[in-house]
Symmetry: C2
Subunit: 227 residues, 2 copies
């Protein structure tokens, strides 16, 4: 079975974590075996799409049997690299950095091993069992520890400079929450996943603004309050 394959489309890759989650939900509810038809119904993706997606990686289904949910989940986990521990640091130990450090990503192998900030008030603060260090200690830390992923929860003004420090010190993966598209500025062998929370909220606002019912309800309610 081919576990790694280059040239898989971005759309397929972006669906893999969802397959992984759905299969976990199925196993939690005691389902061990599932057809592409049933998986399709749950995920609102066509069955042929699912078969096509999974065929990219060698195909895991058996004619007339469907998929073994446990095996399929494990294999998708391997493709996603979840069978290994990925040591991670957090740069920016404010509210969002603390939230991400406490989130529990370690159950998927993402283990927080360090946290950094420039605010001396945060020095020594614990995020789970990790103590916040000052940012100027970062290069030495990276020299002495294996770190794969850096999470950036800092203002955009500082993001480019910090990203460059990270890259110079051997980091190849950045999970970026700063309001700037870092991938446009870094070498090609550095992967960046941007999470722009305010853009997500703006998409919601656009969709809300364009739903007539919501607008009507709102006006009715405001009207009622004014009476």
């Amino acid at each position: 079975m081919i576990l790694k394959e280059k040239g898989i489309s971005k759309a397929v890759i972006s669906r893999l974590p969802r397959y992984y989650r759905y299969l976990g939900d199925l196993l939690d509810s005691g389902v061990e075996r599932i057809s592409s038809g049933e998986l399709s119904e749950r995920m609102k993706v066509t069955a042929s799409q699912i078969r096509q997606d999974l065929n990219n990686f060698g195909g895991f289904g058996q004619q007339g049997y469907g998929y073994n949910a446990r095996v399929l989940r494990e294999e998708i986990g391997k493709i996603l690299g979840l069978d290994k521990v990925h040591p991670m640091i957090i740069i920016g130990a404010g509210h969002l950095g603390q939230a991400l450090g406490n989130y529990g990503f370690d159950k998927n192998g993402f283990k927080v091993v360090g946290a950094f900030d420039i605010n001396p008030d945060l020095a020594g603060m614990k995020i789970r069992d990790v103590s916040v260090q000052m940012l100027d200690e970062l290069p030495e830390f990276l020299d002495q520890h294996v770190v794969e992923i850096a999470t950036l929860t800092i203002p955009k003004e500082a993001a480019v400079e910090v990203a460059q420090i990270l890259v110079r010190n051997g980091i190849h993966a950045i999970w970026n929450f700063a309001h700037t598209d870092l991938n446009l500025l870094l070498p090609e062998d550095v992967v960046v996943e941007n999470v722009h929370l305010s853009e997500s909220l703006m998409r919601l606002s656009y969709n809300l603004t364009n739903i007539v019912g919501a607008e009507a309800d709102r006006k009715k309610k405001i009207g009622a309050e004014k009476r």
Copy 2:
């Protein structure tokens, strides 16, 4: 100028917040006027794509002049609904809920007016100037206040039930951080924006795992440590 238009593709809508952000960056750096060519270079989108995108909304450019950055940003803001205040509540006042409440989305009109949790230890805790209330007070709160958006930062097990309470009480927009795709379960006049943080991290892990250089570096380093 047409400000609202139905049937704009999802891809265009998803680019609008980015245009909005880039135009803000330009204005911050003193640039008032920009051609689609310059905007294209900064955003790594083709100039014709930009002209096409903006033409969906009536077209804001002038031949030979380019775009007035301030006017264009304002108009895109209107399209996104950012010219209005959107009262928002947060359900789930744990680390992530607190982080989102403290994030500063209010500068784009998203004003947190309430926060709810089931944990009595959090009752009365302040998120900015909002006190955390208990979840059973939610229906009465929604009856007495204008709320447009509900942010869900709760475990997936509780998400569907809470979403149904929200919808029954007139909420049409949910910003969902729970690990489940709520949009598949709610009425069509409710818009949901799912933010699946762990899926984002898994995409990063996939991309990292498939970069040969990163793997090689990691092994080298682990090897060096073991010596």
